[in-house]
Amino acid sequence: MRYLPHTNEDISSMLQVIGIDTLDGLFSSIPEDCRRAGDLNLPKPLSEWELNDHMSKLAGSTAVSPEYKVFMGAGSYEHFIPESISYLLSRSEFATSYTPYQPEMSQGTLQAIYEYQTLTARLLGMEVANASLYDGASALAEALLMAIRITRRKKIAVSSLIHPLYRRVVQTYLAPTCCQIVELPYLKNGRTDLITLDEIDDLAAVAVQSPNFFGCIENLQAIGKKTHDKDTLFITSFTEPLAYGLLKNPGSLGADIACGEGQSLSIPRSFGGPVLGMFASKMKYVRNMSGRLVGKTKDMDGKKGFVLTLATREQHIRREKATSNICTNSSLCALAAVMYMASVGGTGIRELARLNYDKSEYLKKEFKKAGFTISFDSTTFNEFVVKFPAGFETKYENLLDKKIVSGLPLATYYPELTNQYLFCVTETKTKEDMDALIRGVKS
């Protein structure tokens, strides 16, 4: 087998050095009653070429571009990924290296992650960003746990327009803490309703997502002010970081912690993972932050270098008192993100975000022209909700046969929103694609 280099001669001579006769003898410390009887029940090994066939068959049946036009976002976005980035990420010095605990031979990863931290902080308008968490959902959970640690309070307010799957992950993480989670309802205009906030005190944090799950841009400034008036931490979440190429960033609007999903930054959707938990906060909270941090320093000769730092927050030193249990993170995805941010650049990310916004506005306009209702009138970024007449499910299925996935039905997540579908348009959809969708729903 090509991954097992030992020849029979190798094995014999090594056994001799060790002083035993057979490979089996290596396991003599395992009591008989702990040994497995019988072989592993797995398929026979496939050759490289058989594996290619097998996997092509499995992969071939999924509905993906360019064959299918998928107008869905909801936390997983289709964006163009430059070939240069796929190529760079395949460099095995990046892909096959370990966590940079030995900084002298990991300066590549360390500088790249320091650059990622920097560009992330700039994108979100925050003072410091970490080296990544698993995904946007666990990042939000970590943000809330961080706020609870900092304020020592046990109540949090979470907008109902935060991604429903994120809110479920938050519930799982917070269940052992006996913290009270107050859900903030939403208004007819598709934004979070803050009225409940007036009646609650002693909050550790208020968390909202912008653009929110309906694609609407929240009034972060107002929410931030209200939150700070209550001496509470303001946490903003996001699923589409590209929005901050165009919109005001959370830092400039008062966020204490900004966290979310970085998958849009040239990470393939891959059926939901691996993705990228982005996390940033004010510098004064950095010692309470979870996740790795790369810092700049100098070596013995005075040359610039990078190291993992503030490690006393982490599990390998602090153990049960650590800020989190996280060890392995999403480093290679963070690398993809910084390569992307570097490739699109400051000028480019603005243009790209603009293009996303304009294409999405075009589709919105076309839906209106075709007589359909846009459910919420707040400004949106690249997602919005359309209300269809009863019975749209049949049309939806027909469109699937035509290889068009027309939005995400929202009733599973918001039972009151029957016949309402969340549409997403990114730079990957052409005017022809959108016109075909409209023709499809009209017919």
Binding site: R287, A311, T312, I317, R318, K321
Partner: protein, 134 residues
């Protein structure tokens, strides 16, 4: 790391078994960590201290001291109210390494029970204790 006979263990302070020193200053005491403790920890990078007016009992954790690769909790050798904390340690935690008994002091406390002061050990007893740890 230093050998036992290289350690600086002044006589003008009392010691606690978890390596704090205590200097009496009239009706208050000053507290820090011993030369042994700072030497074991290595380069100190951060000291987390309580607020003034916080009160703690003897044996309660009042803060932490961090080096690059380790964290140590700090325990009250006696109970009392925090009168002040050393403001210099925020910018210069290395003072604990350079001058553990003077510039590297950590907290000033008004003792709640003077009997607890009696339980603190002398320099010689502390040295014996360190030798026993070897």
């Amino acid at each position: 790391m230093k050998e036992i006979d290289e350690l600086n263990l002044p006589c003008d302070v009392r010691y606690a078994e978890d390596h704090e020193w205590i200097r009496y200053e009239g009706d208050k005491v000053r507290i820090g960590i011993s030369d042994y403790a700072q030497d074991q920890l290595g380069d100190i990078v951060f000291v987390e201290l309580p607020q003034s007016n916080d009160t703690f009992e003897k044996g309660e954790e009042f803060g932490t001291v961090e080096s690059v690769k380790a964290v140590s909790e700090l325990y009250m050798p006696i109970g009392g109210e925090i009168l002040s904390v050393n403001p210099a340690l925020e910018e210069s935690p290395d003072l604990v390494n350079q001058s553990p008994y003077n510039d590297g002091w950590m907290i000033e406390v008004k003792p709640s029970d003077s009997a607890e002061l009696e339980a603190l050990i002398t320099r010689d007893a502390y040295l014996e204790m360190l030798k026993g740890l070897e």
